[in-house]
């Protein structure tokens, strides 16, 4: 089997022993079975077990292994090795506090997600059977419910970098729209109130970074637009 050597440059920082972060140059042999960046990272870790990163599903559904790869946010497990210019520069997601190496503290990100009340609100007594929804109504949730909370989008968004405590960010807003769009949810106006604020929603300046960054092909900016439309509609 043909193998080749790949060069990596990895952001390293262990607060337990390092005074400050540094970049580690390291290479690894990959072969034809190593399709994705994560495959190479697993081999790197076998070589140097001190390199710390998160990973789980290795198929792009759990959202664990979001990184900054050669300057762009993405999932290691969905990034093709063969297209990567070398040295492959791996950094933690930008804008969040760093715990160690490639592992960031996602507290702020999840706080914003939780702030939009990410659950169905329907105060009618539940019926004996399912609540009905037409296929067309259900269709509205496509492109929205599939979010894996990887944070590639929010950590590529300049508005989120500057105000992570006040701006909900693309991921949170996409989920806000997920419930606004759900015909079974009764809290639309409460949800809109919750976002009608100079920061929470209106920091979005339609820069589109979020759309480029999403590894699942979702479009938070469009969802943000739809929330804004809903606000305009209710104002008239």
């Amino acid at each position: 089997m043909t193998t080749r050597t790949m060069q990596f440059r990895i952001y390293r920082y262990d607060p337990d022993k390092d005074d400050k972060p540094y970049l580690q140059d390291i290479s690894v042999e990959v072969d034809a079975t190593d399709r994705k960046l994560l495959d190479a990272m697993v081999k790197l870790k076998a070589k140097d077990d001190t390199i710390a990163f998160r990973r789980s599903c290795r198929e792009g559904v759990c959202g664990s292994d979001a990184l900054n790869i050669n300057g762009r946010n993405g999932l290691a497990c969905l990034t093709d090795l063969k297209d990567l210019p070398e040295p492959v520069v791996l950094r933690p997601l930008p804008g969040l506090p760093i715990i160690r190496d490639l592992i960031v503290d996602m507290t702020q990100f999840f706080k914003q997600y939780h702030s939009i009340k990410p659950y169905l609100i329907n105060n009618d007594p539940p019926p004996e059977t399912e609540r009905l929804q037409t296929p067309e109504e259900r269709e509205e949730l496509n492109g929205v419910y599939e979010c894996i909370l990887c944070a590639c989008c929010s950590t590529a968004c300049p508005s989120f970098w500057w105000n992570p405590d006040k701006y909900v960010g693309p991921a949170g807003l996409l989920q806000a729209y997920r419930f606004i769009a759900d015909t079974r949810d009764q809290a639309t106006s409460e949800r809109l109130d919750n976002l009608e604020d100079p920061y929470r929603l209106f920091r979005c300046h339609s820069i589109m970074n979020c759309v480029d960054a999403c590894p699942k092909g979702l479009n938070p900016m469009r969802a943000i637009g739809k929330i804004k439309d809903a606000m305009v509609r209710r104002a008239v």
Binding site: D49, T50, F53, E59, P126, E130, Y145, I148, D182
Partner: protein, 595 residues
């Protein structure tokens, strides 16, 4: 050494489908509950489930829980406990409707009801013809379900300890379970979680095999912890090999693809399942399809340059159906097989997928173990649900979509039982025995101080290769025997693994070493249980137990209609009888399994 202690009414280990469903029961009851998880809840491997969750809602055609029960017993090759199976199938509609009420974005029929698709082994009218029983959200049912359950827990204010890894079960001399020790990944701190009820929902251990549909984190931690605390593991020889993992990558292609009309073909393009299962064809039960595929490959009818895979063909389906019902599969196929299934078939091979065995429980979610003259006595304070548990509803072979159902039904019932037990109890928390805490500290200390020894990566690979080569889809008596001695050798290496990383902060090398200590318990249990079971049943098929007139499919009900119990101490085996009596309906009588 003293460590910090935190006290709760209940501790749940695991925040996948089973853990989150149990957590709702506890949070809504007002008990002080901690949910520990190695990863943020929505990153648990339930997220990867694709095809659906079974319930006889009958939204598209007539269905009945009794038919579902029949299929499950038959699917289990009669090793499943019929009381638990009846319990699960009867509860299915209730828990699936509940999930819809929580906000699960199921696909819909034109009438606005939950969309249902056919799935392997699910039939109408006691085995007559395939029925639409799998309730689905496109091919992302697990994702939709896990997020809906997490969201409902946000609403219920459940207290999560995210990126905390439970290390050992705390059990006292009387055998009562009093909590767990756990490691906070971010700080490296070890804490004792004291509780009146401890619920394990730690998921599967598919990473004991080299080629697996499971996530990196599926390392059988709950099983390792239980085994070290003297609890036996049940039916560990039964592992499901899913027919359609992407060749080379292991990533799953759901059976829902065949439910929507996908066909398996060999190198000459033949729909070979017509020969092996004339009635159900491509939708026969998983063990049957996997063995047919391996037979095709072994007999030279595989595809590709090495003739080592078969093809899953959906090119005849309307691209609109693929985009609407199977969008995730198309994405996986493009990403991991490099083919667009609208245009070209997908290369697939049987891949380790699901562990039918686990920590023995009853249908109320209590962990049960032999005590005195009884084989199944509840272990006080200990509950388990989901893939780590063995109720046993899946017996020797699980039907697709029955696992997500298992999570909902038994997550809920384990939660309910724990709530009842805690509310009933008037005793204060018992003191924690120091020995249990020492066991954890010793394991951590060994890793901190071990200077030379075996590599974690290398030992894990040796384990995975041994399991793959000696205990796969088809099993051979001599290979199993050899496998036992090989896996025990690997176990010795695992006891002397060495890591370079000694940091306190998010030490993933240490986590992987600790996970390997759990994986190896599961691997040893599997190999030893498999070597001992001298018959073929469900997913366990041996060369020395072939299909004969006297023993159809090589199944030996006279000697082997019983559950295996493996004990870590001395690798001892024991057996207990299968519960053949359901709760209200007559026994589903033993019969040859054919599709």
């Amino acid at each position: 050494m003293k460590i910090t202690k935190r006290t709760f009414d209940a501790v749940i280990v695991g925040a996948g489908g089973a853990g989150l469903r149990a957590a709702l029961q506890l949070s809504e009851s007002g008990l002080k509950t901690a949910v520990l998880t190695k990863v943020f809840p929505t990153r648990s491997h339930t997220v990867a489930a694709q095809g659906g969750v079974a319930a006889s809602l009958g939204n598209s055609e007539e269905d009945h829980w009794h038919w579902h029960m029949y299929d499950t017993v038959k699917g289990s090759d009669w090793l499943g406990d019929q009381d638990a199976i009846e319990f699960m199938c009867r509860k299915a509609n209730e828990v699936v409707i509940e999930l819809e009420h929580y906000g699960m974005p199921f696909d819909r029929t034109d009438a606005g009801k939950i969309y249902q698709r056919p799935f392997g082994g699910h039939m109408s009218n006691f085995g007559e013809k395939p029925v639409r029983r799998s309730c689905a959200a496109a091919d992302r049912t697990g994702h939709a379900m896990l997020h809906a359950l997490y969201q409902r827990n946000v609403r219920a204010n459940t207290q999560f300890f995210v990126e905390w890894m439970a290390l050992d079960l705390i059990r006292d001399a009387e055998g009562e379970v009093l909590g767990v020790t756990a490691l906070e990944m971010e700080t490296g701190e070890i804490v004792a979680f004291q509780s009146k009820a401890t619920i394990f929902a730690t998921g599967g251990a598919g990473r004991i095999y080299h080629s697996s549909t499971n996530a990196f984190i599926n390392t059988g931690d709950g099983l390792g912890m239980a085994a070290r605390a003297g609890i036996p593991l049940e039916d560990m020889e039964f592992w499901q090999f899913h027919p359609t993992g992407v060749a080379g990558a292991g990533v799953l292609i759901t059976e829902g693809v065949r439910g929507e009309g996908g066909i398996l073909r060999n190198s000459s393009g033949e729909r070979f399942m017509e020969r092996y299962a004339p009635n159900a064809k491509d939708l026969a039960s998983r063990d049957v399809v996997s063995r047919a595929m391996v037979t095709e490959i072994n007999e030279g009818r595989g595809c590709g340059p090495n003739k080592d895979f078969v093809l899953l063909d959906i090119t005849h389906l309307d691209p609109k159906v693929i985009m609407q019902r199977l969008p995730g599969i198309r994405e996986i196929s493009i990403q991991f097989a490099g083919t667009d299934p609208i245009k070209e078939p997908i290369p697939v091979v049987p891949t380790c997928h699901y562990q039918m065995g686990g920590i023995p429980t009853n249908y109320s979610g209590q962990v049960v173990a032999p005590r005195g003259s009884s084989m199944s006595v509840a272990v006080p304070g200990f509950y388990a649900a989901g893939e780590c548990a063995c109720a046993s509803v899946h017996g020797a072979n699980r039907l697709g979509t029955n696992s997500l159902l298992d999570l909902l039904v038994f997550g809920k019932s384990a939660g309910e039982t724990a709530v009842e037990d805690v509310k009933k109890s008037t005793k204060a928390h018992k003191d924690l025995p120091q020995e249990a805490i020492e066991r954890t500290l010793e394991r951590i200390n060994r890793l901190d101080t071990q200077r030379d020894g075996a590599g974690v990566h290398e030992s894990r690979l040796a384990m995975q290769r041994t399991m793959q080569n000696h205990c796969g889809v088809f099993r051979f008596a001599d290979k199993l025997k050899e496998g036992v001695s090989k896996i025990l050798d690997v176990q010795k290496d695992v006891q002397r693994t060495v890591i370079k990383d000694k940091s306190k902060v998010f030490n993933t090398a240490r986590i992987e070493a600790l996970e390997l200590e759990n994986l190896i318990e599961v691997a040893v249990a599997t190999m030893i249980s498999a070597e001992a079971r001298k018959e073929s049943r469900g997913a366990h098929v041996r060369d020395d137990a072939p299909d004969t007139a006297e023993r159809p499919n090589g199944r030996d009900d006279q000697n082997w209609l019983k559950h295996t119990l493996w004990f870590k101490e001395g690798n001892r085996l024991d057996y207990k009888s299968v519960k053949l009596t359901p709760l209200t309906v007559p026994t589903i009588e033993l019969k040859k399994r054919a599709y």
